[in-house]
């Protein structure tokens, strides 16, 4: 039977028994795909209390119905499993870009569900319907780049590979699964390692079918391309341009005359990038100078990214100086793929000759990024660097490491900005050498193990957002309570840009408020930067929209660093976007007509399922107090120079306020239809969305509210 959007097949692999079989995707279609379906499978099959490294845990690589259709920005892979760095091993998803998910779809699979544990290192070889579990003994111990090359040498140069490095093999909590040159999914590397699964290779000859005609599909693509902006859907250029009414130096739309991909052969000028010019969409986001400073222009070969994305937000650099350090000159990444490692060199970076300055920072940073990407070490959204600094400055290392181990660490390199510190740091972490390596356990576990007190959690510079051990990630600095509340609802750093792709558009605030009013019911949904107001229902709607859309994107799969399209760069559209695009693409692809509201409700149901699973894992219905609280510093007023408090909601302050946040939680719970006291899903809500079985199981465990 022909399926549209979906391939119709889930690949199931049991590494303990070696059995490989397929299951029917469409029996889970009410959970959309990707993350939604993964939540359902985990709910059904992995009991709460399972350890992430136990064979009974499952790890699910998910694509969705839009993956492989060519819809703009539809190349992401969702990975769902239990998270080793979480205090209660919370269910969580990580994501990687690149080309893996589309290859999986063309090979004929919507998801891969992996369980069990192989007796010895293996890799999974997928070539359309031929799926084999292969011996990985010669790959085990290799870095991720070599591993991918080895798989491709077996399968052919077109194979796309997901792999772990030594960090994942050694069950480091903060480890990644990676694909391609620069795409990392943070947190689940050890889960693959615990299963003795080194890599997954996919080679395909198939296709993805859509219900609509090719003509209609290309028309919708063309419409979306007219609305799309730059990275994070910023729709304003960073410099004044003749075609633009506005400009903003903080914008990722950095393309302009005189700005080049300097290491291309010949150099490629990014140019004016008029939003009507469809052949310059991929030139708008010259991310290298955004992430690394002006000095990165000359190193930039091109911008890269994920399958079927025109934006290209990964900087691909050639840095010849890396060869002095014994590394290959080619390095690529984006955002925290750079700043995470940079944060490890917490006292700055000097170059080979001892100079500081922008180029020194770039070369040194690239060493860290290369090593992290090869060993497969995660940064916990840059938290690892802050934890390192804290533990050094507060003499925690002096206390917990033996004298010999302490003396063996090249602290002088760290203090002097010598980037060769990275070689020592990443090796210790990836191979779990010594007590020091526990810095990569995750903040909660570090705090436990090394008895870090309350001042660790309440240090504003430490940026820990919740007691789960995750940092700020577009939190109170992103739309006041909107970002602050979004960050409370995940079991990891929130990985949510639904709100950023609107708040960060760089349009004038008055215009954004107008648009917010159209989407959420009132301009009060959006506060001006640092001019914060008290909580209101419109902000709660904005929070729900953001949480729901993130789940939706991770299920379809679409890139949550671009979608939703709340705004556009077009003056003739008065900068309005189209938030119904997800449902339009979904309807045309699958043939199952879904309105914007209906699709959002499906995603809300998936998000509620994640909530229900979290309740089972935490064994409490009171998520408000056990899960959704921030640490103290976000709700503490700033101090003026004379030491007096600056009250929250004073212009210039971005601090939140305790009771206001509690009100915010209540309002968000209400938006979702959950119990307003605890934040737990109610039986009536669960039954209304077809999750009666979930309600029954929660009730049996005494975990339904009221």
């Amino acid at each position: 039977m022909e399926t549209f959007g979906y391939t119709g097949k889930i690949l199931r692999v049991n590494l303990s028994t070696g059995s490989v079989y397929t299951d029917d995707t469409l029996k889970y279609k009410e959970f959309i795909g990707g993350e939604g379906m993964s939540m359902k499978i985990m709910w059904d099959e992995v009991p709460a209390g399972t350890h992430p490294f136990a064979p009974e845990n499952k790890i699910i690589f998910g694509a969705g119905p839009l993956c492989g259709t060519g819809a703009p920005c539809s190349g992401r892979t969702n990975i769902t499993s239990l998270l080793p760095s979480s205090p209660f091993h919370g269910i969580a998803s990580s994501h990687m870009g690149g080309y893996f998910a589309t290859e999986l779809k063309y090979a004929g699979y919507d998801l891969i569900v992996i369980e069990g544990k192989a007796a010895s290192p293996v890799w999974l070889r997928i070539e359309d319907e031929k799926v084999r579990i292969e011996d990985a003994r010669w790959m085990w111990g290799k870095g991720i780049f070599d591993t991918q090359a080895m798989v491709a040498s077996f399968m052919g140069k077109e194979a796309q590979v997901a792999a772990i490095g030594q960090a994942g093999e050694n069950l480091v909590n903060l480890s990644v699964i990676r694909t391609g040159t620069s795409h990392s999914a943070g947190g689940h590397g050890g889960v693959m390692g615990s299963k003795n699964l080194k890599a997954i290779g996919v080679r395909r000859t198939g296709s993805v079918k859509i219900a609509a005609s090719g003509k209609d599909w290309l028309e919708l693509d063309s419409y979306m391309m007219s609305i799309i902006g730059a990275n994070n859907q910023m729709v304003v250029p960073s410099t004044p341009q003749p075609w633009a009414e506005y400009s903003d130096k903080g914008s990722r739309w950095t393309g302009r005359k005189g700005l080049f991909w300097g290491a291309a052969n010949p150099p490629v000028e990014t140019g004016e990038c008029d939003p009507h010019d469809m052949q310059s969409v991929g030139l708008r986001t010259m991310k290298a100078i955004f992430d690394l400073g002006a000095g990165a222009e000359k190193y930039t070969v091109r911008m890269g990214g994920c399958s079927h994305c025109p934006i290209r937000c990964h900087s691909q650099l050639k840095i010849p100086q890396l060869e002095k350090y014994g590394l290959d000159p080619y390095v690529a990444n984006t955002c925290v793929g750079w700043s995470g490692p940079r944060g490890v060199m917490c006292y700055g970076i000097k170059d080979f000759d001892g100079n500081t300055g922008p180029d020194a920072g770039i070369v040194g940073n690239a060493i860290g990024t290369t090593l992290a990407d090869d060993y497969g070490v995660w940064c916990n959204y840059a938290q690892i660097g802050r934890d390192l600094k804290y533990c050094y400055e507060k003499a925690v290392f002096k206390r917990v490491l033996g004298a010999e181990e302490y003396a063996s660490i090249p602290w002088n390199k760290l203090l002097n900005g010598d980037a060769t510190f990275y070689f020592d740091f990443y090796e210790r972490v990836a191979f779990k050498k010594g007590e020091f390596s526990h810095i990569a356990d995750g903040s909660y576990w570090i705090a436990q193990r090394w008895n870090l007190g309350e001042d660790y959690w309440n240090d504003k510079n430490g940026k820990l957002w919740t007691r789960g051990g995750y940092p700020v990630h577009h939190s109170n600095e992103a739309g006041a309570q909107v970002g602050a509340l979004i960050s409370c609802f995940s079991n990891r750093d929130s990985q949510n840009h639904s709100h950023m792709n609107f708040i960060g558009s760089k349009l004038p605030v008055a215009l954004q408020k107008e648009i917010a009013g159209e989407i959420f019911g009132s301009p009060e949904a959006l506060d001006a930067p640092a001019v914060y107001t008290k909580m209101n229902v419109y902000k709660a709607r904005f929070v729900k929209y953001s949480l729901v859309r993130s789940m939706l994107h991770n299920s379809l799969t679409l890139c949550n660093w671009m979608w939703p399209m709340a705004v556009s760069p077009l003056k003739e559209r008065k900068y309005r976007g189209d938030t119904s695009l997800e449902s339009k693409f979904y309807s045309l692809a699958t043939g199952m007509r879904m309105s914007e509201k209906e699709l959002d409700e499906m995603a809300a149901k998936c998000f509620t399922l994640q909530r229900a699973y979290t309740i089972m894992q935490m064994n409490t219905v009171d998520l408000r107090n056990a899960h959704d609280q921030t640490t103290e510093w976000p709700i503490t007023p700033d101090h003026a120079k004379d030491g007096t408090d600056i009250p929250q909601f004073t212009p210039g302050s971005i601090q939140m306020e305790r009771s206001d946040m509690e009100l915010g939680r209540t309002m968000v719970y209400r938006e979702f239809g959950w119990d307003e006291t605890t934040g737990a899903p109610t039986r009536s809500y669960l039954e209304s969305v077809g999750l009666k079985d979930v309600a029954d199981r929660l009730a049996a465990a005494g975990l339904l509210p009221g």
Binding site: E245, V336, P651
Partner: protein
């Protein structure tokens, strides 16, 4: 190996509504010219209009004085009662995309199809050769529209491209101007200097925003 595909400079040909450019003053009424003369008048207007559009495609304004020197008016037309280049353009073939801005000593044209009113205003202020007004007015606009303080490097980068000496001299002189007393400075912790207008932004907010732009955004990628 040469460049295969040199960068294109495509421009949208769509006319765009609602330019914020300065309105042109009312043209003096006069009798319409006779048919034969009208053809010459139209041909002349078309040359002017096409030149303005071509310049606009290149991101440039066109002044009335430039038009007058590049396209000397034909004698028959210059004898018309109430003749002006501006009226020729205004009454010429459809030029609804053309906008006119009055400067202190000249007037400036652009096509809205290829330059927005905001950008044209930046260019106009540069053409006026009054760096103090350029800085003050731009800072006031930024403080009002976005609202945000303005980084000093905004003025040394295109399209203003002031040099450092020009900029620092202008800033010193501005401090002596009572009509510019609303323009204040603030600094981010990395040393970057910003300007803001107290008409639209308070000191604390301006400082907070400058710090966010310079430091906070980079710490929250």
């Amino acid at each position: 190996m040469g460049v295969i595909f040199p960068n294109k400079k495509p421009r949208s040909a769509e006319a765009v509504a609602d330019s914020p450019g300065a309105p042109s003053p009312a043209q003096p009424a006069h009798e319409p010219p006779a048919p034969a003369e009208r053809a010459d008048r139209e041909a002349y207007a078309l040359r002017l209009i096409e030149f303005i559009r071509a310049e606009s495609s290149g991101g440039r304004l066109t002044s009335l004085s430039t038009l007058a020197s590049r396209f000397p008016t034909p004698e028959e037309l210059s004898k018309e009662l109430g003749f002006s280049i501006a009226s020729v353009i205004a009454e010429g073939p459809d030029a609804s995309d053309l906008k006119k801005m009055e400067g202190s000593s000249d007037a400036w044209y652009f096509s809205e199809s290829t330059i927005t009113g905001s950008y044209a205003l930046h260019l106009l202020r540069t053409e006026e050769k009054d760096p103090l007004m350029l800085i003050a007015e731009t800072v006031r606009d930024e403080s009002r529209i976005y609202p945000r303080p303005t980084d000093l490097t905004f003025f040394t980068d295109p399209p203003f491209s002031m040099n450092e000496r020009e900029l620092s001299q202008a800033l010193e002189r501005m401090e002596l101007r009572p009509d510019m007393s609303d323009i204040k400075r603030c600094a981010a912790s990395n040393g970057a200097t910003y300007l803001y207008s107290t008409k639209y932004l308070g000191e604390t907010l301006a400082e907070t925003l400058a710090e966010w732009i310079e430091v906070g955004q980079k710490q929250n990628p």
